[in-house]
């Protein structure tokens, strides 16, 4: 149950998520984004001060693009709640090694989070599943019970419950399950989990119609593969072609996630697609304005699923907008290796 003061706003956002339509509606988005901003400005004091320092208040803007975006790193240092602390129901934390501060997303309800994730999964990861149909899903992460503060595990838990067959499961070393598989399945996990799996796997061919969903980076794995190398290895070792590998882009700080378009629109270029209640902008860091399609910039996300924290978030990732819709991730600080000596401390401190 969310903060009663926010319930009317949450209800309107939830209604959109549950309609089952995947239609852009600029007017609806604008209205809800501005209402969210007003609410968060009023109920999240650090965010209010942040906005005021930038000269922005709810009465000074009429375009959601003017809502100040908080850097994702701020979630490591400041509790960005738009509800009273005592109503905190769940806290997701970013991954991190000991000694490194972890970002925290505090929630007073999981309803928006869960309502937002399933439509995107259905549409972009399982576009071929008929209504009511399920798929065997194997997830190479800890389960939600094992990692209660992992938003990724929670998301996979929701996915298994809503779309998985009875023999779906969390399994960190699933090679025996894969070797015995006779029906199409979805194999999901972090890029690092796939790298570990592929290191030890002898080549096999998963049943036709299987798919892979990978997300995140290579934390904990001794070597980093390029996306091309990873996909080539998945093809070689598991028999899943690149056209059936979906990358998910998500962040603990966000209620919604983004998926590659390849299964939904196989004839069009691979790009990330967002649910209608999310807007993604690519901001040119030199000018602070929207970068032209194809030009690199900071991925900035306005997610209506974040009513309980802050909706506008500036990520630490660079990307580029596609010509028509969607966006591509370019990664974090490409070329940093070639730069001066000091960058290493940044990297080595895991910041």
């Amino acid at each position: 149950m969310s903060d009663p003061k926010r319930q009317p706003l949450d209800d309107r956002v939830l209604a959109w998520m549950r309609e089952g339509r995947w239609e852009q509606d600029d007017g609806r988005f604008r209205a809800l984004a501005l209402q969210s901003f007003s609410f968060q400005f009023e109920h999240c004091l650090p965010y209010r001060r942040f906005c005021e320092a930038r000269g922005t208040t709810p009465s000074s803007i009429n375009d959601w693009r003017e809502v100040p975006a908080v850097p994702a790193g701020a979630f490591k240092e400041v509790a960005l709640r738009s509800f009273p602390t005592e109503l905190t129901h769940h806290t997701f934390r970013t991954s991190g090694t000991s000694g490194v501060r972890r970002g925290e997303l505090h929630l007073d309800t999981l309803s928006l989070y869960e309502a937002s994730l399933l439509p995107a999964i259905r549409r972009l990861l399982f576009p071929d599943l008929a209504e009511g149909q399920r798929c065997r899903i194997i997830v190479m992460t800890p389960s939600p019970a094992e990692a209660p503060d992992s938003s990724l595990s929670h998301m996979f838990g929701c996915m298994l419950e809503a779309l998985g067959t009875k023999d779906s499961r969390f399994c960190l070393k699933p090679i025996h399950l894969l070797e015995a598989a006779t029906e199409p399945l979805a194999l999901c996990g972090t890029a690092s989990a796939f790298a570990h799996l592929l290191d030890s796997a002898t080549p096999l061919r998963l049943p036709s119609g299987s798919r892979v969903m990978e997300t995140g980076g290579f934390k904990g794995h001794e070597r980093t593969l390029s996306r091309d190398e990873l996909y080539a290895s998945i093809d070689e070792k598991l028999g899943i072609p690149e056209s059936r590998i979906v990358n998910q882009y998500g962040m603990t700080e966000l209620g919604s996630q983004f998926y590659d378009s390849v299964l939904r629109e196989p004839e069009r270029p691979r790009r990330k697609l967002a649910p209608p209640w999310v807007r993604v902008r690519v901001i040119d860091p030199h000018s602070g304005r929207d970068a032209a399609p194809g030009e690199p910039g900071i991925i900035t996300i306005h997610d209506l699923a974040n009513t309980g924290s802050v909706s506008a978030i500036e990520t630490a990732d660079l990307g580029q907008a596609s010509e028509e819709d969607g966006f591509e991730i370019l990664g974090r600080e490409p070329g940093a290796e070639e730069r001066g000596c000091s960058i290493a401390a940044d990297v080595m401190l895991g910041t």
Binding site: P46, Y47, R48, R49, F50, A53, R54, V70, P71, G73, A74, E77, V78, D284, P285, H286, G288, P296, G297, I298, E314, A316, L318, E333, P334, G335, A336, E337, E338, R339, G340, C341, S342, I343, A344, A345, D346, V347, M348, L349, T351
Partner: protein, 392 residues
């Protein structure tokens, strides 16, 4: 460049190495002394060419390169070289040898480390196969050209090769050497270690950074240390530490000094990832301030410089390109404790505090504010001697 090109270069170096076997080292040292004198002169044609070519390749403003070279090369004399060789080898004529060939992987965009990295193996008569950094494709070629002009025999013992960083065949041929000098990020150096033969002598130069421990009167000098090479070098200070009551006055004075120096030595190109990092770190500082933490932020919309005065001495990411954090400290013990997590990465400290106060931090260079970017020829960025690590 193909694998065959690299192998052919190796074959030429093998022939050049044979010619150096019986060469008296005195002749070699004299040749490099002549080369350094030719480079350090304010009228040097080599400096002029570097000033002409490096800005386009590395993104620096011409004035920054000119002033950076003048200051850095000023004390790199022939006599300084003779003194280093004598000190490290016992005498110039000592029977000290380098490896049959040395592959040198260069990094970054600052010319001086490139010059010393190429010169050191050659002083030991070890021919050099060098791969320039993508952001400085100029210095290594100019160095080789000047060497050929001064001493053709030595000049034949250096080959410059270029290949894509993800070309494993070329990388294999490049690293197939008795000795490899690898400069770069720690990740790059670790990757090189995976590439080389088990019996290859690997000299590692990972990343380093510098800091300033200063008072408000050091603001102009600190601005110069920051502005030269746009914080792209390991001797560029990324953070300044002041006694708590002086931190805010220093931040104000540093902001004014950076604004002033921008007119004389404008910041160079700001790559998009760096601009994004500056926006991000500034935004996070704004958020800390909004949460009631005592932080001050100074800068301009064009991101020409940024000064963030933090509330504590905790280490934070360094976006570079004239982004400086000012940290308050409560005495020397506090400073030493605060820097403990990063001390192993410290290359230099600019301060007028007694050297023994800062010695526990292990920085290879401790100097007065304003002179960080003019290290002596003998200095190497991770404290290693110039020649000793390359001896067979």
């Amino acid at each position: 460049m193909s694998v065959d090109d690299i192998r052919e270069a190796r074959a030429r170096l093998a022939a050049a190495g044979s010619a150096l076997e019986d060469r008296p080292r005195q002749r070699t040292v004299d040749a490099f002394a002549t080369l350094l004198e030719a480079w350090r002169s304010p009228d040097s044609v080599w400096q002029k060419r570097l000033v002409d070519l490096l800005p386009g390749a590395a993104g620096f403003e011409t004035g920054t390169v000119r002033e950076g070279l003048l200051r850095a090369l000023e004390h790199w004399s022939g006599d300084a070289l003779r003194e280093i060789v004598s000190r490290e080898l016992g005498s110039i004529d000592a029977n000290a040898k380098g490896f049959a060939q040395t592959s040198v992987l260069l990094a970054g965009s600052i010319p001086m480390p490139t010059i010393t990295s190429l010169m050191a193996p050659l002083l030991l008569h070890s021919p050099v196969l060098a791969k320039p950094a993508s952001r400085d494709p100029v210095t290594a070629h100019l160095f080789a050209e000047s060497l050929r002009e001064i001493d053709p025999e030595l000049g034949a013992a250096i080959e410059i090769v270029r290949f894509a960083h993800d070309d494993p065949a070329c990388a294999g041929a490049f690293f197939d050497a008795d000795c490899v000098v690898a400069t770069g990020s720690d990740e790059t150096v670790a990757a090189v270690a995976d590439h080389v033969r088990s019996n290859t002598h690997l000299v590692r130069h990972g990343h380093r950074m510098s800091i300033s421990v200063v008072r408000p009167e050091h603001a102009e000098a600190t601005a110069l240390d920051v502005a030269l090479w746009d914080q792209q070098g390991c001797l560029s200070p990324v953070a300044a530490y002041c006694e708590a009551d002086q931190a805010e006055p220093f931040a104000q004075a540093l902001a004014e000094a950076l604004e002033e120096i921008e007119r004389r030595l404008p910041r160079g190109e700001l790559p998009t990832p760096a601009a994004a990092a500056i926006r991000r770190e500034t935004g996070e500082a704004e958020m800390r301030r909004a949460a009631g933490i005592d932080v001050s932020i100074r800068g301009d919309e064009a991101l020409r410089w940024t000064v963030v005065r933090e509330a504590d001495a905790n280490w934070r990411p360094a976006p570079l390109h004239r982004f400086v954090r000012v940290h308050p400290i409560e005495g020397l013990d506090h400073l030493l404790r605060a820097l403990e997590p990063v001390a192993r990465h410290l290359a230099g400290i600019a301060s007028d505090r007694p050297r023994q106060d800062l010695a526990p931090l292990g920085a290879a260079r401790i100097c007065k504010p304003g002179s960080l970017q003019a290290p002596p020829l003998a200095w190497h960025h991770d404290g290693q001697p110039l020649l000793a690590p390359l001896l067979r």
